[in-house]
């Protein structure tokens, strides 16, 4: 499956940095899943969990607030 580069960063450290096939985030308008080649998007996140899937399996992170940015073949989440 096609992968894209995902970076999850909080101000004091980088939480996750790697290539994933999919990421599910709690968007302010409801939960959404981002796959590779998603249209560029900026969205606010509400409280919930982020789940991303890469070769090693699923990873989950809890968030209270944040911003998601999806660009060409990469995604950035600021929490």
């Amino acid at each position: 499956m096609k992968t894209f580069h995902l970076t999850i960063a909080s101000l004091d450290k980088s939480v996750f940095d790697g290539f994933v096939t999919r990421v599910t985030v709690p968007g302010s308008e409801g939960e959404m899943t981002i796959l590779a080649d998603h249209v560029p998007l900026i969205s606010r996140l509400s409280a919930g969990t982020i789940t991303c899937t890469d070769a090693a399996g699923d990873h989950t992170f809890a968030v209270t607030h944040g911003v998601l940015e999806v660009g060409a073949s990469r995604a950035t989440i600021l929490i």
Partner: protein
């Protein structure tokens, strides 16, 4: 000076030297750690600035609310960052000197971080909106969060027209400069410069290169630019203030390291000259004794 006195002085000088050397080593480690933290914050800062740029391309009016001076309010809020402790060379005096000249041009209220800043503001009889002392070296986000909140709220209510942050900028281990930066209204160019400058001019972290900024693709914005901006703005203000704190910590530790190195060198020099003096005095005493004995022997003959 008697022999005993000189000896005591040598011992105490050496002891001081040991203390300063230990402080130097501690500062060196702390400096490295803060530099690493500053670098870790960069990913975040860069992404936040990039988002601001994308949103402002798409919807200028939503951004303009935060980037332009809306009111003719000349009251400024100054976030003054200093350290709690001295013995760090000219770090704090440099910052406070710049604050002096800044105050001549602006009327400011203060948010003070660090004991020296609080003392300075109190001495000047200025209004202190918030003060924070004993900020740990591993500046936590909680420290910064409520400072940011206070500044943002005061700005939104229109109490202040501008928010500045003043701190000692870390250029390299031997070079730091005090700096004023405008935090609010947001200044996209200034923020970009800040993000670029997170890498020090020289030293271990200097050779990391900047990756290309994303293309100007059209973004979908959800829920809307107007609703997204507050979140992004608070993040950017967060970045600016957190960054100022980290930079200041790095400056403080490197300045202290250099100051303590000088102190260690000086104590060695003094111990050496005192040892010389001690040996001379001892030799003089021996010579005097010998000449007395020989004189006495000659008198008997």
């Amino acid at each position: 000076m008697s022999l005993k006195l000189i000896k005591q002085k040598i011992v105490s000088t050496r002891k001081t030297g040991k203390v300063t050397r230990a402080m130097e080593a501690v500062s060196a480690v702390k400096m490295r750690k803060t530099q690493e933290r500053a670098f870790a914050a960069r990913v975040y800062a860069r992404a936040a600035v990039r988002m601001l740029a994308s949103i402002s391309r798409l919807n200028e009016s939503a951004v303009a609310h935060y980037t332009m001076r809306t009111t003719e309010n000349n009251r400024a809020l100054l976030v003054l960052v200093t350290s709690d402790k001295g013995l760090a060379g000219a770090v704090n005096s440099a910052v406070l000197k710049l604050a002096d000249s800044f105050l001549q041009k602006h009327t400011c209220d203060f948010i003070c971080i660090g004991r020296k800043a609080v003392e300075y503001a109190e001495r000047n009889g200025a209004v202190i909106v918030h003060k924070e002392t004993n900020v740990a070296d591993n500046v936590s986000l909680q420290n910064v969060e409520h400072i940011t909140k206070k500044a943002l709220e005061a700005y939104k209510e229109g109490t202040y027209g501008v928010v500045y942050v003043l701190y000692q900028n870390f250029l390299s281990t031997f070079e730091q400069k005090p700096l004023v930066r405008q935090v609010l209204p947001l200044n996209p160019e200034g923020l970009e410069v800040m993000v670029r400058e997170i890498v020090p001019k020289s030293g271990k972290f200097a050779d990391r290169t900047e990756e290309a900024v994303g293309t100007g693709s059209e973004y979908l914005i959800e829920p809307s630019a107007e609703e997204l901006m507050p979140e992004l703005v608070s993040q950017l203000v967060h970045v600016a203030i957190y960054h100022a704190l980290i930079e200041h910590k790095a400056s403080e530790h490197s300045a202290r390291m250099v100051a303590m190195k000088n102190a260690t060198d000086k104590s060695k020099e003094i111990a050496r000259s005192l040892t010389l003096k001690f040996n001379k005095a001892r030799q003089a005493a021996i010579t005097a004794e010998v000449s007395e004995i020989t004189a006495g022997a000659a008198a008997i003959k």
